[in-house]
């Protein structure tokens, strides 16, 4: 009531002081009201500004929200020539002319020179209040993410009014995540209630959440205050809080392990991806291909070129880069096999040296064509971001993608080897070349195709690598040793061994990392592998029977 009276008084004053303008506005309508109240912002102190924004938002009309957020973002200006308030489109200080938006109709209102405009300043306290007010409007917005942010904002400064607002919202809120957040907020507020029954209920409700803020709040109840008493006076509440903290800690530890495992699996699937091509060329064919890493590098550069070719379709470029990289790296592999490697079968050490030479040439080739600098490959929007599973566990989408991707590649490779004619030929030639030849299999052609397949898979791995490492001439070198380790660890000639080996190496690496740091963890894994190979020279899944003899 007071507010209305005040408004009327102000209106009267305005009419007296500035009759022409008052007559131009629709008299006493809401719109005119808002404009007038806004006009006061020009000369108001910070405290007065706060009262003004309170009054503006008190009616609960969401049309005021743009004004509040504009004020919050330093985009609310007063035009000095006529003292009218406008929102500007951009707060960029370097512009000399700013585009104006009418704060009530939100329609464009021409532009004005920067000199004619004065920013309506804010201070910390005002901004805090503004954020809370904006959040109240956002609470009923259509977007769940916006509502969630609004709830979090409101929880930062709770008062009776916002509590009532949250309570009302929790009954109609359709999104579970937002509802949970509201309940946490209400529970935290109830911890302050004078009634110990209410506090106990609140603790019971909060036990289910895993947010650090809840845990810290509950733990705070158990602390002693300066005068020696407990922060929480009631013994039963303290007990319940202690149990709740314990339960929350247990779950958080559990999810911590889950997260580490997930990280480990994602690191491991990168290893699987880079090693699975090698599992074909080295494991099945017995060729030591030191240029394997450079084939991955070619795949990564193919992705880069695809993105250059289609700058407006980043996601499509990545998808198309997968077959393109397979072809580029696969063709390179076939050429490599036909011109060099086939003359060196049965001389593994020579193959190693020759392919190392090839890797140097490929590196220098890339340096000559693309320069020695790293190239940036963009990540499509849908691959960035995180999935919040619960208060303690969030999963980054790109890690999830790499796990899925490497599993798919692995499955396809397994299918090709076990269910297609080419796979049958490959297995026949690797098991008994002479017999396969006698049966009419063109062994030379199968050799080329096998090597091409392994190389193509390396190219696909390069596409994946381009998403989270630097694409540069040295990309391959940093993965070649890891790839060999995975294949040797898993057992040469066994695809499943590569999968299990790679994943477990990744998990071990991630488990060690918090204690030893990234570099030491890597060193430790390498040393552990060296020791492992001493004890089990044929890897996790050694080949048995006749195949084992031929691989020796």
């Amino acid at each position: 009531m007071l507010g209305t009276k005040l408004q009327v008084t102000w209106l009267l004053l305005a009419v007296i002081l500035c009759p022409a303008r008052a007559l131009a506005q629709p008299p006493l309508s809401d719109v005119g009201d808002v404009r007038l109240v806004l006009g006061e912002l020009r000369e108001a102190s910070f405290v007065e500004k706060e009262r003004i924004v309170e009054r503006l938002s008190a009616r609960g009309d969401p049309s005021i929200r743009p004004v509040l957020s504009a004020l919050l973002e330093d985009r609310l200006f007063v035009r000095e020539s006529d003292h009218l308030i406008f929102i500007v489109k951009s707060a960029d200080d370097s512009l000399t002319s700013l585009e104006l938006i009418d704060p009530v109709s939100l329609a464009g209102a021409g532009s004005a020179s920067r000199d004619d405009l004065t920013k309506i300043g804010t201070n910390n306290q005002l901004r805090k209040r503004l954020r809370a007010l904006v959040a109240r409007f956002d609470l009923s917005g259509p977007d769940a993410a916006v509502r969630l942010a609004a709830v979090e904002e409101i929880l930062r400064s709770l008062d009776a009014e916002s509590l009532a607002l949250l309570r009302a919202r929790s009954t109609v809120e359709p999104d579970a995540g937002v509802r949970e957040q509201i309940e946490i907020g209400l529970g935290l507020a109830a911890l302050d209630s004078g009634d110990s029954r209410a506090r106990l209920d609140a603790i019971a409700a909060l036990t289910r959440t895993l947010r650090p803020q809840v845990r810290n709040r509950l733990a705070g109840l158990l602390e002693r205050t300066a005068d020696g008493g407990f922060a929480e006076s009631d013994e039963r509440v303290r007990q319940a809080a202690a149990q709740a903290v314990h339960a929350i800690d247990r779950w958080r530890t559990f999810y911590g392990v889950v997260e580490t495992l997930f990280f480990g699996l994602s690191v491991g699937s990168v290893l699987v991806l880079v090693a699975v091509g090698l599992a074909i060329t080295f494991g099945v064919m017995g060729v030591i291909n030191m240029a394997h890493g450079e084939l991955m590098m070619l795949g990564a550069y193919t992705t880069y070129v695809m993105q250059l070719a289609m700058p407006n379709h980043i996601a499509a470029a990545i998808v198309l880069a997968i077959p393109a990289a397979f072809l580029v790296a696969g063709m390179t592999g076939v050429i490599l096999e036909r011109t060099i490697i086939r003359f060196l079968y049965g001389r593994p050490l020579e193959t190693l040296l020759a392919t190392f030479g090839v890797s140097l040439v490929l590196q220098q080739l890339v340096r000559s064509v693309f320069s020695a600098n790293n190239r940036s490959v963009e990540t499509p929007a849908w691959m960035s971001g995180t999935l919040q599973i619960n208060g303690a566990l969030s999963i980054t989408v790109n890690r999830l993608c790499i796990i899925l991707f490497s599993l798919i590649v692995f499955a396809i490779l397994l299918f090709v080897l076990k269910r297609t004619r080419l796979g049958l030929d490959i297995r026949a030639v690797s098991q008994n070349r002479a017999m396969a030849q006698a049966m009419g299999i063109r062994t030379g052609w199968v050799d080329a195709m096998t090597f091409g397949l392994g190389s193509g898979i390396a190219g696909i791995a390069g596409v994946a690598l381009s998403q989270f490492t630097n694409v540069g001439p040295n990309l391959g070198q940093s993965y070649i040793i890891d790839s060999f380790m995975v294949v040797v660890f898993g057992g040469v000639g066994n695809l499943w061994g590569t999968l299990v080996g790679g994943l477990s190496m990744g998990v071990v690496d991630q488990l060690l990392e918090p204690y030893a740091g990234a570099v030491l963890a890597k060193i430790f894994v390498l040393v552990a592998l060296i020791v492992f190979i001493q004890r089990w020279p044929r890897g996790l899944f050694p080949q048995t029977g006749r195949a084992a003899e031929t691989q020796a």
Partner: protein
């Protein structure tokens, strides 16, 4: 064998000639004369001779015992680091921070006292022992595990490469106490002689030449001995040697350890001449480059390996100066062409021509080697 002796003798004469001519041309020929050898070239010669020693070490185990180590640069670097530690201690209070005991990088990292593994490095004799002992100890432990569980062939190569890679990562760490990324540099003097003085450089080159000659003679003695013949037997048919009752593992371990300490000594001679040692010396490519020197020169001939090291490195110096873009192409092509067309290196090329002239029977080793190669090949396929 006689051919080899003749070439070996020529090699020794060459080394001695260099050891005499280089100091004379540097010290007693005036700088204006076209015959003057600049200190830069003198240092290059010293560097090449260190590489030649490393090549001898690689050839001894790869060319004769069939063990392809892709971690010899690690032994080389370990020897270099041991020498570097001695040289760092010699700087004394002349460092940037002027600490009488702690090297600059430790002061920079706020270390209060010398780590235990630095104790003793102010004595030259202690450094000398470590130079050979640390690579030997590492080779002993690694080789004992590897040879005992019969890790052979490419597996052994990949393992040594991983070892070298792990060491590189470790030495890159600041808290390892070896200067991290930057390694050791800014050395002042060795045994009281200024390292930047020409005279010291000359002496270092002469010492390196002497060490090269001595290592050649030592390797020569090993391969000519009964053990040397057994190494070749192991290389060509390891199982057969084992079934004949020889302890293959011990022989391999012994020669591997010897080769590692030889590489360590080469590294120790290398560091005072180039004036720096850092973790990139452990890089896997360095080991593989050493293998290609041997392959180019002629695997299984000691002088060939040593000459290969000098030739390839001379080419490297030339290319990286004149056509830096082309060097990696050239090196890569060298790898491919030598393995495809010159399996016995440049020495083999010479030998083949002579064979064609005399119509003499191919050396036994060659025949044996190709026989095993063929049988292995058919087995692998």
């Amino acid at each position: 064998m006689i051919e080899q002796d003749r070439a070996g003798a020529a090699f020794l004469v060459l080394v001695v000639a260099v050891a005499i001519a280089a100091p004379v041309l540097n010290q007693f020929v005036p700088a204006s004369s076209p015959f003057h050898l600049s200190t830069y070239s003198l240092t290059l010669i010293g560097k090449y001779m260190c590489y030649a020693m490393l090549a001898l070490a690689v050839d001894l185990i790869w060319g004769y015992a069939g063990i392809l180590s892709l971690g010899h640069a690690a032994f080389f670097a370990l020897g270099g680091y041991a020498m570097g530690m001695y040289l760092m201690r010699q700087i004394g209070p002349r460092g940037v921070y002027g600490d009488p005991i702690l090297p600059d990088f430790m002061v920079f990292l706020n270390w209060q006292k010398l780590p235990w593994f630095w104790v003793g490095f102010n004595h030259f004799w202690f450094a000398l022992i470590v130079i050979a002992a640390v690579p030997a100890a590492l080779a002993l432990v690694f080789g004992w595990f590897a040879f005992r569980s019969r890790v052979t062939g490419v597996y052994f190569s990949i393992m040594t490469q991983a070892l070298s890679y792990a060491l590189m990562l470790a030495f890159f760490r600041n808290d390892m106490g070896f200067g991290g990324n930057n390694g050791f540099t800014d050395f002042k003097d060795i045994l009281g002689f200024d390292l930047h003085a020409d005279r010291t450089r000359v002496v270092l080159v002469v010492v390196t030449a002497a060490a090269l000659a001595a290592s050649y003679l030592a390797c020569r003695a090993i391969v000519a001995s009964r053990a040397g013949r057994l190494f070749r037997a192991i290389r060509d048919a390891e199982s057969r040697a084992r079934f004949l009752g020889y302890r293959v593992e011990s022989y391999k371990l012994w020669v591997f350890v010897f080769s590692a300490s030889l590489a360590g000594i080469a590294g120790a001679l290398y560091v005072p001449q180039v004036g720096i040692i850092n973790p990139s010396e452990f890089a896997p490519i360095n080991s593989i480059e050493a293998v290609i020197w041997v392959a180019v020169g002629g695997r299984g001939t000691l002088f060939g390996a040593a000459m290969g090291a000098v030739l390839v490195n001379y080419a490297k110096t030339y290319f990286t100066g004149a056509l830096p873009e082309l060097w990696l192409y050239a090196l890569g092509a060298l790898f491919v062409l030598v393995t495809l067309f010159l399996p016995r290196g440049l020495v083999g090329l010479g030998a083949r021509r002579r064979r064609a002239v005399h119509g003499a029977a191919a050396p036994v080793i060659w025949a044996l080697g190709s026989h095993v190669g063929v049988s292995l090949g058919s087995k692998l396929k």
